[in-house]
């Protein structure tokens, strides 16, 4: 598949302090995003995710390196004709109502009056903000702004969508809605570039991820190739057994009343444990195998990096 976004060896330093001193934030970022995929851009706070996005959108100028959006440099109007962007902590013109705000952006894309009204109504419905249509944005809550932010990012039906921490400020229902929307957009053939550090949400929907730590991409690839299916350990909750008898079988994590949470590492120990519980007339309340998650990899890599 063709790459819609190509970042090649990107460097960016900020001058900080009264006597300007250069602080290198991006130290040679390279990645490429293929058409039609959901690409997760993951990294701890301050890794440089937002900074990368700003370079891609032409809001800041990289010191070195190349960015191509649909094959165009970021400052070309052509590059931006077909993309949508939801910044982190979005904040918009607070003197406008939601409808006026979307109308303003729709005009920038030259939408015709009738299409415009239809589009705005559809988008407000999509993000669940029809009721707030005529409310000034200054009266919006954080999560409501996030939703309107998503609506403005979709106003031109973009082929490439940049979402920076899109789940910030959303309630559980909002998070689920957003995930559904993202998956639906992918089915429509759109490409989605997702910056986040909330891994559980990313994991479920991303095709490929890049992990950035300290301004460098330290790992990149399809999610399956990064995460193994191997069972790391099994978490067992049980009761009616003396904890002292369990030491050989696994690692007791906590006790609550007579319930014990136990981490069991070897598969055969599970058989032994079940036999023991049966023999002593104890009870097993739950038994959950834990496979490797993105979070494990992430924590591991951030520690090393």
């Amino acid at each position: 598949m063709a790459a819609v976004l190509e970042i090649d060896n990107l460097y960016k330093a900020f001058k900080v302090g009264f006597i300007p001193k250069k602080r290198e934030i991006l130290k040679g970022i390279s990645l490429s995003v293929a058409a039609g995929e959901i690409f997760g851009y993951l990294g701890p706070n301050g890794a440089g995710k937002t900074t990368t996005l700003k370079c891609v959108l032409g809001l800041i100028f990289p010191d070195r390196g190349k960015v191509a959006v649909f094959g165009h440099p970021p400052l070309a109007a052509k590059a931006r004709e077909n993309l949508g962007y939801l910044p982190e902590n979005p904040y918009f013109y607070d003197y406008l109502t939601a409808a006026e705000f979307l109308d303003f952006y729709a005009q920038l894309f030259g939408l015709r009056k009738k299409d415009k009204e239809e589009k705005i109504a559809t988008l407000l419905r999509l993000v669940g903000m029809e009721k707030a249509r005529d409310l000034q944005l200054r009266k919006f809550s954080r999560g409501m702004l996030q939703r309107v932010g998503l609506a403005q990012a979709l106003i031109n039906d973009p082929a490439l969508l940049f979402l920076d921490e899109p789940l910030g400020g959303l309630d559980p229902l909002g998070r689920k809605d957003l995930r559904d929307i993202i998956v639906r957009l992918k089915q429509e053939g759109k490409t989605i570039f997702l910056c986040s550090h909330i891994l559980q949400d990313i994991e479920m929907i991303c095709d490929r991820v890049a992990i950035i730590v300290g301004g460098r991409v330290i790992s990149q690839g399809a999610l399956e190739s990064l995460i193994s299916e191997k069972v790391l350990f099994t978490e067992v909750t049980l009761s009616g057994i003396d904890p002292a008898d369990l030491v050989d079988l696994g690692e007791p994590v906590s006790t609550l009343g007579d319930r014990i949470l136990l981490k069991v590492f070897q598969e055969d120990n599970i058989e032994n444990l079940m036999a023991l519980v049966h023999e002593r007339r104890g009870r097993i309340h739950s038994l959950v195998p834990r496979t490797e998650t993105l979070e494990d990899i992430f924590v591991e890599m951030v520690r090393q990096g």
Binding site: F14, K54, L59, F61, Y85
Partner: protein
């Protein structure tokens, strides 16, 4: 087209700004006050009304241009609204010109409103509708356009407070710089005189837009003066805008 969209939005922003109405209220109060002053004063009452009235329009117009103009670009950057706006297919110069024209439109309407109030007050006093006053107001407006450009230029790289101080200095220097001419005449020729000449060439001369005295006193003015003043305003404004675009184009929005 895109410039127009941004200009209209800027207009919306400006007319929803409380400061505009505050200034307008003060301007109207000053205009009404000029009438009171005329009653108390001795001498040519009509001239006092006209002098005070035109000066009020000019001063409050300048305050509107500076107080709103210096915030326009800065606010977009500070509140990060510029991130999404510039991620749309518009160029940075289009953004800047949109802001400029939006405020110019606002000032046009405000100047017109103040001018009409002024004309009515004069009408009440003299019983005549003096259309010639509009010419003085037109040149006040041309000056406001230039001040708007200057405010926007400063707000491209500094905070509203600093920009306001800079813009106000520009305005004051612009009105005092004609004094240099007298100074030059009194200086002996040499390096000092050359330096003063150079300075007077660079400094803006906003007195070029001041036809208040001539018009109030009904003096004849060569039409070429009007033409050159308007041209001066246009060229100076274009120059300032070009400078603003150059600075704005290179900026990182962090």
């Amino acid at each position: 087209m895109k410039i127009q969209t941004i200009a209209l939005n800027t207009f919306k922003e400006a007319i929803r700004d409380r400061i505009l109405y505050l200034l307008f209220f003060f301007a109207a109060a000053a205009l009404a006050f000029s009438r009171l002053l005329a009653v108390l004063a001795v001498g040519d009452r009509v001239k006092i009304i006209k002098d005070v009235g035109l000066a009020s329009i000019s001063i409050f117009g300048v305050l509107m241009a500076i107080l709103i103009g210096t915030g326009l670009v800065y606010k977009e950057i500070d509140k990060k609204t510029i991130y999404t706006l510039l991620s749309k297919p518009i160029q940075r110069w289009q953004f800047l010109l949109g802001k400029f024209f939006g405020l110019v439109l606002t000032l046009f309407i405000m100047t017109l409103a103040m001018g009409l109030i002024f004309l009515v007050i004069v009408l009440l006093h003299t019983g005549k509708l003096e259309g010639r006053m509009l010419l003085a107001i037109l040149f006040i407006f041309i000056e406001l356009v230039l001040i708007t450009a200057v405010s926007i230029l400063f707000s491209c790289f500094s905070t509203p407070i600093l920009s306001s101080i800079f813009s106000l200095s520009f305005y004051l220097i612009g009105h005092l710089s004609w004094g240099l001419e007298t100074l030059i005449q009194k200086t002996r020729s040499g390096a000092a005189r050359m330096a003063l000449r150079g300075l007077s060439a660079i400094l803006p001369d906003l007195e070029n837009f001041n036809f208040k005295t001539e018009i109030v006193h009904g003096l004849a003015i060569d039409p070429r003066f009007y033409f050159f003043s308007a041209l001066y305003g246009l060229v100076y404004t274009l120059f300032i805008l070009a400078l603003a675009v150059l600075i704005f184009k290179k900026r990182d929005f962090v």
